[in-house]
Amino acid sequence: MNLHEYQGKELLKRFGVPVQEGIAVASVDAAIDAAKQLKNERGTTIWVVKAQIHAGGRGKGGGVKVATSLDKLKEKAEQIIGMQLVSPQTGPAGKKVNKVLIAEDVYYGKEEERKEFYLSVLLDRERKKNVIIYSTEGGMDIEEVADKHPEKINKEWIDPKDGLQPYQARKIAFKLGLSGDAYKNMVAFVTNIYRAYVELDCALIEINPALKTADNKILAVDAKVKVDDNALYRHKEYADMRDVTEEDPTEVEASRYNLNFIKLDGNVGCMVNGAGLAMATMDMIKLAGGSPANFLDVGGTANAQTTEAGFRIILADPNVKAILINIFGGIVRCDRVAQGIVDAYKNIGNIDVPIIVRLQGTNAELAKELIDKSGLKVFSAIELREAAELVNKVIAA
């Protein structure tokens, strides 16, 4: 699960990580109040208005703006709150900005006295341990740095038994070229970030940039925090941090029925049991000349109710020209799924897109008979290749 910058910063502060302070708001009036409050409490007379969306590259899309007066702040807040922000990571449709973070200015003093760094913590799947990735090239797209200057990307792997060692934090601070107070502050910064990563069950903490200020503080200016979906039960507060407005409404709807659904932009809807088979079915649709309209794993308990919910969710997409149902029945009995399809079909009424049903496994023959005899406009198949041929035929028609 992704968190917003302001949520990530709040969590990091609890672990003693200094951040660029700010106040998250949802309206222009609140933005002005927040700016005044920051001026009183932090002494800042320059503010940064930062769009809070779950995507990077916000600055490039006009979602991060500096204001040097309260009038300008009002103007920038008006521009950003409610805008459809298109960044390199949002896709062409962009994302609506519901909240902005009004943040203090931390780029004070002389430019040559400041320095931006990159720091992230994540799992190295190959080595099965956490890794800290860091670079002197902060504030830039890290994929680009990795591409052009791989020598400027450093990694420090953390022993799972003993955790981050003091010498490793020192090494990172030295390699970033720091000395004196800035060095000491960076050692503490790295140590606290790593502790937060472990204790908060994160899947990613990315600080880009981490700033050395003119007075040698080290601050998280941005914070991208992703928490492990499997660990949500250990952190009850994460449920309140979920922002459903960031998610596709049909995906939110699907999750209420325990359906694992991801919206795509193709023309063939699909409903499958099992994540691997669902992905394979999407690939098959592509090879048959269509393109998948969604990923939908109905899981191991496909029944009449989930089948109907699945149908309704897929049919809500006007681009869908055909639906492929692919169930490999193991513990799930195919005849029950077939009955579910027949019932759903009757309940929904007037489904005018062709439906291809491929049921294989337990009671597959019985299921095929059920569907063939139902009188519904449904094409049925038993083998996967037959289903692929049917998809091809239906799309061509």
């Binding site: 099965k128 038994k161 099992g274 994540a275 394979a280 193991g330 496994g361």
Partner: protein, 290 residues
């Protein structure tokens, strides 16, 4: 011969008396698996499914000579169940549980390093050696005994591949569902290696998906050490980047863990790659006729 489990395996079920454990233990017993008992802390001394319940895995090993365990306990307690099994001397631990936090699995992986046991999963369908032992949740009837080994990250896709292989007249030596999480006990490469060393296995089906580098690692190993034909498939050619496709580990993070990139490396290493999931069985049959 076969890999990991056979008719002599003495299997216990951790989470034996729970709903999932009871259902699948019943299925496994019906299949003919030698289930010698189960573990549910606090219910030791009772009988369940006509088999003894133990309080600890250690008891099950000492009193019932268990050497294989299958785990059905909920995510919050599953990592601990794996550690208990390993510490008690279980040789093959199959963890079906889905949803174990990554932090817990890092710890498990470290704990298992210096112990003589093999973990399959978590978040997997288990292992089957047709006609001998089913230590998992797969539909047994799909798997006929034969000479093809299957390694797969996915459950239903394993059944699909097995079904296709069996329809060509071939059968399965063993099938290993290694699981779809970011950290799993047995990697694709390790599972392939087991089959390369199994005299009964003549050909291997290797099914992967987007995310991580395990298939590439296996492919490079096969290029160096492979002695049997391998047919491969990677699910998720059409998966959008950055989205978790059902399995916790199925997420494209960079250019190297896409389906296309993995398929390319596999081809370069001499693996016959199926473009469509519908032709896996057919390709295996052709490869074995040569």
């Amino acid at each position: 011969m076969s890999v990991l489990v056979n008719k002599n395996s003495r299997v216990i079920v951790q989470g034996f008396t729970g709903q999932e454990g009871t259902f699948h233990a019943t299925q496994m017993i019906e299949y003919g698996t030698n289930v010698v008992g189960g573990v549910t802390p606090g219910k030791g001394g009772q009988m369940h499914l006509e088999r003894p319940v133990f309080n600890t895995v250690e008891d099950a090993v000492q009193k019932a000579n268990a050497d294989v365990s299958i785990i059905f306990v909920p995510p919050a307690f599953a990592a601990d169940a794996i550690l208990e099994a390993a510490d008690a001397g279980i040789k093959v631990i199959v963890c079906i549980t889905e949803g174990i936090p990554t932090r817990d699995m890092i710890k498990v992986n470290e704990f298992l390093k210096d112990r003589d046991c093999r973990l399959i999963g978590p978040n997997c369908p288990g292992v089957i050696t047709p006609g001998e032992a089913k230590v998992g949740i797969m539909p047994g009837f799909v798997f006929n005994a034969g000479t093809v080994g299957i390694v797969s990250k996915s459950g239903t896709l394993t059944y699909e591949a097995a079904d296709q292989v069996c329809r060509t007249g071939l059968g399965i030596s063993s099938a290993i569902g290694i699981g779809g999480d970011p950290i799993i006990g047995t990697t694709t490469k390790e599972a392939v290696e087991l089959f390369m060393n199994d005299p009964q296995t003549k050909g291997i089906v290797m099914i992967g998906e987007i995310g991580g580098g395990m298939e590439a690692e296996a492919a490079r190993w096969i290029k160096e050490h492979g002695t049997k034909p391998v047919v491969g498939f990677i699910a998720g050619q059409t998966a959008p980047p950055g989205r978790r496709m059902g399995h916790a580990g199925a997420i494209v993070g960079g250019s190297e863990d896409t389906a296309i990139a993995k398929m390319k490396i596999m081809r370069e290493c001499g693996i016959q790659v199926a473009e469509s999931p519908a032709v896996i069985g057919e390709m295996m049959a052709k490869a074995l006729k040569k």
